[in-house]
């Protein structure tokens, strides 16, 4: 059993045993963990022997909390899980409730939802790109990424009234209609993005030091990726087709033209490239929809108090980090009997020990970056 005192003893100097191995605590406060993740690393010199995650520093018992919230309320808690894809979390919950109530969502709401999802995905990947480069010691990309992300945040702010935890998607549609400026602002963003995207490659992707740091590091075979339940860009970097938007299309994703980005490298660089290319696919989706937002209601007519029939409902959506599953067990009441969020970060973290063994401590940081761990998503 892990005891904190034990860890403290292990990490104080002088315990470096005959094997020459020693443990260090990375986190809960550490610049590379981007949150309160605590990893206990066993090292031999600079080489990693074992990585042991200790979670729970930001656990808020969202699943338990949701058991006492009704079907309209619980969605707002989920924005706080993976706060970088708040829209997509809300979307997943809304879809699950709609599945239970068999609500038909009006086409306008569907398009708005997808637009918001894809904007969120781009924003999330942009933040990831900056943070990833910062983990590798390059500060500048972070600010360049924030320039574009900022304009997405402003778009969100206009329509949803919030920049991070949007709480915009509700069962039956969206909370309110789009801001009149929405289309113009999105088009401006698209223009800005296209003008600046080449900077990303010039600054980071093409850099020889960056490529040396990423290529051949953190090898994750397709078989292991599936077995460990790795999803999202991390899995697609290992050539595992895992895009829920293609496998189990929800809303109108099956009518849109976009490619599932797959890379065969299986290393950190492949995972990096997947995200870079995925941003372009998201932009493609936004471009298809921005001029074709159908007129009509933004919300289906629903009762004030939602009551799901007795049964079990499961939805899977693709967040920026991978597959988010929402599993609602209903007893027929106004609150869920049991709710489970299958968060992508939790499974992606479990593979860290497997891919990090034998590599250097500097690589661990790069691998954590390419797995794109968001700690509130892991802890829920």
């Amino acid at each position: 059993m892990y005891r904190e005192t034990e860890i403290l003893q292990q990490t104080s100097p002088g315990i470096i045993g005959e094997t020459g191995e020693f443990t260090i605590n990375v986190g809960p406060q550490h610049p590379a963990t981007h949150g309160v993740l605590h990893l206990v690393i066993t090292l031999s010199g600079e080489t990693i022997k074992k990585v042991e995650p200790h979670l729970g520093y930001i656990h808020r018992s969202i699943e338990k909390m949701c058991e006492s919230l009704n079907y309209r309320q619980f969605i707002y808690v989920t924005s706080r899980m993976d706060y970088l894809s708040a829209h997509i979390n809300n979307h997943a919950c809304a879809l699950c409730v709609e599945k239970g109530l068999q609500i038909e969502v009006p086409p306008r709401a569907q398009v708005i939802r997808i637009l918001m999802d894809e904007l969120t995905r781009v924003a999330s990947h942009e933040l990831w790109w900056g943070a990833m480069a910062m983990d590798l010691g390059a500060f500048t990309p972070f600010f360049h990424a924030f320039r574009e992300r900022e304009s997405i945040n402003e778009i969100m702010e206009e329509t949803c009234g919030a920049r991070l935890t949007m709480n915009y998607i509700a069962p039956g549609g969206v909370v309110q209609d789009l801001h009149p400026d929405f289309q113009r602002r999105v088009k401006e963003f698209l223009k800005l993005y296209k003008r600046k995207i080449h900077e990303y490659d010039e600054l980071v992707t093409g850099n020889i030091i960056f490529q040396n740091r990423m290529k051949g590091i953190g090898m994750l075979s397709a078989k292991d990726a599936i077995s460990y339940g790795v999803t999202g860009p991390a899995a697609r970097g290992s050539n595992v087709s895992s895009d829920i938007r293609k496998i189990q299309p929800y809303e109108i994703y099956d009518k849109l033209e976009f490619d599932e980005v797959l890379e065969t490298g299986c290393d950190s660089f492949a995972r990096y490239m997947v995200r870079i290319r995925e941003m372009q696919q998201s932009i493609r989706i936004i471009e298809q929809l921005i001029d074709n937002i159908p007129e009509g209601d933004f919300q289906a007519k629903t009762k004030a108090v939602l009551k799901l029939p007795k049964g079990e409902f499961y939805t899977r959506v693709e967040t920026a980090r991978g597959e988010l599953g929402v599993y609602i067990v209903s007893e027929g009441g106004t609150t869920p009997y049991r709710i489970k969020f299958r968060s992508p970060g939790f499974s992606n973290l479990s593979v860290l020990d497997h891919i990090a063994r034998g590599s250097k401590i500097g690589d661990l940081v790069a691998m954590m970056g390419t797995l794109d761990l968001v700690i509130p998503d892991i802890d829920r």
């Binding site: 990490t11 104080s12 100097p13 020693f22 260090i24 550490h30 610049p31 590379a32 600079e46 480069a133 910062m134 983990d135 590798l136 010691g137 390059a138 500060f139 500048t140 972070f142 600010f143 360049h144 320039r147 600054l203 980071v204 850099n207 030091i209 960056f210 040396n212 740091r213 250097k360 401590i361 500097g362 690589d363 661990l364 940081v365």
Partner: protein, 358 residues
């Protein structure tokens, strides 16, 4: 014409007329000490501000702009904060070593000031092995880092110190060998001789291929030696939180911080002296009008201009490149830079013997 040498001579004359020679020497030494400390403080403030402004410029933001006009007093305010802060010593630390380490870093940086020619005939100590002195003294820096890392009683610090040790010891080789290229071409270790040899053109123009190669290697090696990104593995904040100075706070941390910037200044000054002619103005062959115009600019301006150009170059690296990994860092030195600089030295020697340079 106004020059630093002129002022120095005036002071020397006045002292000689007023006191006997022994007192004159003592007073001059004190003055030199005060001048170095003053330069130190001034450089620290200027370089920190410059780094922040350069970083801000590269990162499309403004940088410090609130304290004083154009934010010029920002680093002053920061220094004040650091002085007032408590300097903690961890419980398990080796207290003597822990507290001495930052001062060693500082003293080394100060010692390095001695042979640098800041302007024409303005030099603290023109010793005949000036360049050798610089390479020798700068190696002491690693001791202070190792002391800091070991005595902190923290594994992050120890790892940072060990990385730094391996790194500085390795990169000293190629830095030394690239300096050797110039020494071979000049035939002297004395700083004034080296500068004088460039009166008809800087080595970077005269020496063509071997000097270009050694200039590039020198810049890479000194960036590594001063633990600057992309070779900042000793600090590596995303891996080792802050490396060897994780446990330091207050003024003790500030001394390390300052020593880093002073070291950057010194290596750039050495680079400017060896490759870009030190205080020597830019001359073009026999174009007298141009040469005279260039001569009119004070020599200290030339020296600081070149040095700050190199400093800017090194800052540019820092804010553009990602960090190397420890094994890649050592590979780069031992597998690429060292063989290349050895071969380059051979080339330079052949060139010096055959007189192929201009």
């Amino acid at each position: 014409m106004w020059s630093l040498a002129h002022i120095a001579n005036e002071i020397h004359q006045w002292l000689n007329n007023t006191f006997n020679p022994t007192w004159t020497l003592i007073i001059e030494m004190v003055l030199a000490g005060v001048a170095v400390i003053g330069l130190f403080a001034a450089l620290g403030l200027v370089l920190v501000l410059m780094e922040r402004r350069v970083a801000a410029w590269i990162q499309i933001r403004l940088g410090p702009n609130r304290v004083g006009p154009l934010g010029l007093l920002q680093s002053m305010a920061d220094t004040l904060k650091l002085i007032v802060k408590e300097g903690l010593t961890p419980d398990g630390a080796d207290k003597v070593m822990f507290n001495i380490a930052p001062f060693i870093a500082m003293i080394v940086a100060m010692l390095l000031m001695a042979p640098i020619a800041f302007a024409k005939d303005f030099q603290l100590w023109d010793l005949n092995i000036g360049v050798l002195y610089v390479t020798a003294v700068s190696s002491i820096m690693v001791i202070s880092i190792l002391m800091a890392g070991w005595s902190s009683n923290n594994k992050y610090s120890l790892m940072g110190a060990m990385r730094s040790g391996a790194q500085i010891v390795s990169y000293e080789l190629s830095a030394g060998l690239s300096i050797m290229t110039i020494i071979v071409l000049t035939g002297s270790l004395q700083v004034s001789d080296i500068i004088q040899a460039q009166s008809n053109g800087w080595w970077i123009f005269k020496g063509h291929l071997p000097v270009w190669i050694s200039f590039i290697i020198f810049i890479i090696a000194v960036t590594a030696e001063t633990n600057r990104a992309p070779f900042d593995l000793a600090e590596a904040e995303s891996e080792l939180t802050a490396g060897f100075h994780t446990e330091y706070s207050g003024m003790k941390f500030a001394l390390f911080f300052l020593a880093e910037y002073i070291n950057v200044f010194i290596v750039c000054a050495i680079g400017a002296t060896l490759f870009l002619g030190g205080w020597m103005p830019l001359h073009f062959g026999s174009n007298n009008a141009f040469n005279n115009a260039m001569d009119y600019i004070p020599s200290s301006v030339w020296f600081f201009g070149k040095t700050f150009f190199l400093i800017f170059l090194i800052m540019w690296f820092r804010w553009t490149f990602p960090r190397l990994r420890i094994d890649q860092l050592l590979n780069l030195e031992w597998k690429y830079l060292l063989p290349i600089s050895m071969f380059n030295l051979l080339l330079a020697t052949a060139m010096a013997i055959l007189g192929w340079h201009f």
